[in-house]
Amino acid sequence: MRADIYHRGVVTMLIVLLTVPVLATLLYSFSEHWSATILPDDLSLVWYLQLWQDSAFLAAFGRSLAVCLGTLLLSTLIIVPAVFVVFYHFPALDKLMNALILIPFAVPPVVTSVGLLNIYADGPLNITGTPWILVGCYFTIALPFMYRSLANSLSSINVRELMDAAHLLGASTSIAFLLVILPNLRKGLMASLFLAFSFLLGDFVFANLLAGSNYETLQVYLYNMRQTSGHFTSAIVMSYFLFTLFLTWLTARFSK
């Protein structure tokens, strides 16, 4: 019984620790004024109304969505066939691939930015300050999640037998991939896409260092708004947080 109370106590503390900053921000974003009192004076939606009518915010949000969705589309088109080819034709490559996809995961983005900023500032690929350089970096962020999740899905189905059966029934390799393998990958792919989406949306380092004010994404906009009212910034933080929450919820739904 005493142990039970202890464990409940620890878990409650954990919940409090994790949720207090979120709840404080939420309360702050809903209050018109809040100074020198423990609880806010008056609750209102005024900051949210102001935010969602702010054209700079909407533009930054749109840019973030465009660059993230574009990256995810490109990553899907490149990674899905690559994983399948590795599994079906060159299984010995899997070890190398697993080592390669760890690099972007292990190297801090600040370090990668040093090289990127110098390689793509001039020369044949002059893409610094454009969304294209972000698409490239975001590809490497999404890569570990997508590759691992697709590889897990592929190893949970019997690729070779499924392909052999499809071949026996007269399908070509590409048709068999599209009609037999791809539907089996859908769940894992969707879950990893939502997960990668919330990661990409949270990127500040690449967005700030490589694109900056030339292509102001949501995170950079948020940073640039730091001097405005705390209520306004907390409305941005909460809008962003609720959006990623929605993405996490979708991830959980698809990975069931």
Partner: protein, 296 residues
Amino acid sequence: MKTTSIPLGSQAAVPLLPHGWRRHWPAALLLLPFFIMLTLFCLAPMGWVLLNSVQSEQGLSLANYSDILSSPFYRQAFDNSLRISVWSSIIGLVISLLGAASLRRISGRLRRLVVSITNMTSNLTGVPLAFAFIILVGTNGALTLLLRKWGLIEGLRLYSSNGLILIYTYFQIPLGVLLLYPAFDSLDDDWQAAASLLGAKLWQYWYYVGLPVLAPTIFGTFILLFANAIGAYASAYALTQGNFNLITVRIASLISGDILLEPNMAAALSVLLMLMLLLVTIVNQWLLKKGVRHAR
């Protein structure tokens, strides 16, 4: 070189379907975009950093490194980064260990709630996290005002290294819980019963049985938390507007600051940062081997 060794292996495994690069070149072409993207945006920048860290005005030299190591300013950056990363990883690890251990002993509904809260809050990082903490414990933060009103505290020093440790710990906890929680499944409840039958106290069970079994996961989690903290940039930058001396802040200001751009210096700092990560991983492995031998 690989072209000869790899097809042979798969041929041996599936003799009816010969798999060679020659036969499968259209399939191999599908790997090309993957390797091009990885090279352009990951391998090439890494290579640039390594090559240019040893470039200076006099050509190939280690001048950048000796400049960094002899500069008190850069040494302070390393000192700050290391201190904040180690402390936030240790505090985060202890809190998540206690949390994950208790999480297994509570009812299913509450457990699911905590796991989803952990998942949710793992998204609160970087700039939004810094802003949330400014709102809560900044100079005019809600909690600061409350504590001041009660006379408990003059003011919390959020914009100091302790403030950074606080914020870093916050983003370490969800990660720690998510990594450690599954590991507790490897502890058999019967072991604890057996230990107590043999007269072991609770701490003795944990010291001699529980923790040695969990050791590889705990060490592995520490490395991930440490790497997570030492490479972090956004929260610290947003909180202090780049005025706190950290390695990542220094690197970023050397490549995109307003004053003086020194990309070679930034490259050398980056290499040292990576070496530090490598060193911690090696020490970790060494401790782990020693620990495992000791447990046997």
